[in-house]
Symmetry: C2
Subunit: 342 residues, 2 copies
Amino acid sequence: MPEKAASKTITIADIAKMANVSKATVSYVINNKKGVSLDVRKKIQRIIKESNYKPNTMARALAGKHTNSVGLIIPDISDMFYANIIRGVEKASGKFGYFLNLFTTHANPEKEHEVFDFFTSSMADGVIVMTYFVGKEVTRKLRQRKIPFVFLDFPYDDDIYSVSVDNFEGGFKATNYLISLGHKKIAFLHGPEAARDSKARYRGYLKALEEHNIPFDKDLVLKGDFLRQSGFKAAKKLIDIKKMPTALFAANDQMALGAMSALKKEGYRVPEDISIIGFDNTEASSFSKPTLTTIMQPIFEMGSLAAKTLISLINGKTPEKKRYLLKTRLIERQSCSYYNSR
Amino acid sequence: MPEKAASKTITIADIAKMANVSKATVSYVINNKKGVSLDVRKKIQRIIKESNYKPNTMARALAGKHTNSVGLIIPDISDMFYANIIRGVEKASGKFGYFLNLFTTHANPEKEHEVFDFFTSSMADGVIVMTYFVGKEVTRKLRQRKIPFVFLDFPYDDDIYSVSVDNFEGGFKATNYLISLGHKKIAFLHGPEAARDSKARYRGYLKALEEHNIPFDKDLVLKGDFLRQSGFKAAKKLIDIKKMPTALFAANDQMALGAMSALKKEGYRVPEDISIIGFDNTEASSFSKPTLTTIMQPIFEMGSLAAKTLISLINGKTPEKKRYLLKTRLIERQSCSYYNSR
DNA sequence: CGAAATTGCTGAACCGGTTAAGTAAGAGGT
DNA sequence: ACCTCTTACTTAACCGGTTCAGCAATTTCG
């Protein structure tokens, strides 16, 4: 333990003494509560300013019951997706005077529990949760401790606040776009089986086909795993089975890019021979050749909406909706063009 | 009688009661201090576990003098650079049982002060600072409050702990690499004037030339601003003045990529006609065509080393070095080749 | 004009822990 | 046996705030 220094930090008692009032009065001034005359109030404020006094956060948190900080639990911070979440949460929290406590679980169940326990023991006034192992247990814990929480990118349950991206709508939008360009033979490339978001995008794809009375062709639905390589393989497969679609919708950019390079390698031109659309609007999507048309997720907004919702909750309000589904946006680039019937 | 149980959160007093001991004894057990018999210790531990008791973080922080969390102040989180810093800090902190409090200043001086005041009023046991407006003032504040701190990517002063990347060595390494490939006419492309890191890289460049007795040619030194566009322009300029180097070292990847596209556009082949090396190893550098050889900064390590150093400081140790300079790493890709004298 | 309500401030309990000082019982030394 | 050390706990003060009950002085009002 560090040697405790002798230079006392200034406390509320010191201020009270200087102003010839009680601690209580100082506290009321600090918190802008009424019951203090203007004279005394001003005097105290002046003394506080002059002595550069800052109330101790821990003591406030202990005595009152709020820390003025929100917690954010995410699996990792290895890519821009999470970075944008953080930014969104941080920005919105800051606007309301809240600070951010960041916790990452490293997709590790043990660590995840640890983190939850930490929150559970007061540390943040509320918590935004984005995790792999969400379970009844976690929500039960949070409920038990009466700490407000919002789930992120996981429309978990009906009676839980959550903010997510509308992947269904995104899939629908992507497919519709291709259809609007005249395409009818549209392939879909799945992410890993377990991926909820990929599935939702697929449902959007089906819905769009259906709405335009385009017959579903199961040969045009391919398996992937969100990795570049799987896009590459899937494209090869399409070529092999000699059922070339005129457009391909990949459940994420990585795979779209993989498919693109495979197709180009085999002599297909993008977008002249085949249009490709991805999902995510990753940085790489704007560097490919041709640049990749894709669906952008409003990640930043997701984070910031989650924070806003949480803070309302903290303040005892009851935001109207329980589940927010954010709309995606189509980013038109070069990889898609009108169907060329030639 | 209604045994009123308002779902109170369980405290150390409750545990003490259950175990028929005093709060103090429970506290000793929680903190693994000696002076408690094995029997009692085990009993208390069992009760703690059974009742799922978690000590209140705020109270501990107030009574003891540590929060078990480290603060990290960074300007923003908009790119992978910062994301990696965060990861590094978070990982290392976690290993020592510390949590991370993240604060971003949005490159806004006002916000920066706010954040510092927050820390100043206890909230983290120590803080890692990475900021635009570092000044005497900030370090004075931190010193005054006796809160340990470490600067990141800013070898600020000799008597302050700091962890940075050795940009000089990186510039030296990049240039040396080109020289080892037989190049003698090597251009350097600067970042913005104010950028310390760019300057350091330049010094490394000069040093490498000097060590190999390669005459310095000021025409081969170009101005840029770290943005892609400036790389593009610089390359054009090189072409115009008809003093084509055989290699180009850009102070960051963005500019390297910009230069690459300009050169390709004008019919130069990379790397056959001109080798290009960048700095940063951004994601984009591995997607270009040809892929970009570059210098990687050990960002993650920087964050993690900063955290380790800080935690030593917190624990009253005095780490040996005050300024850490981390070595960069050369990432060989396709954009550099042997000088072709043909 | 006297009672009631309001205003302005204080004292003290409390939040949930940590820790220094004190005590009683048992162990060790001579 | 006597005195001293340890060991194992307990008591109570404290960390730095918040907040409620209480009280005196002042204002409002029937």
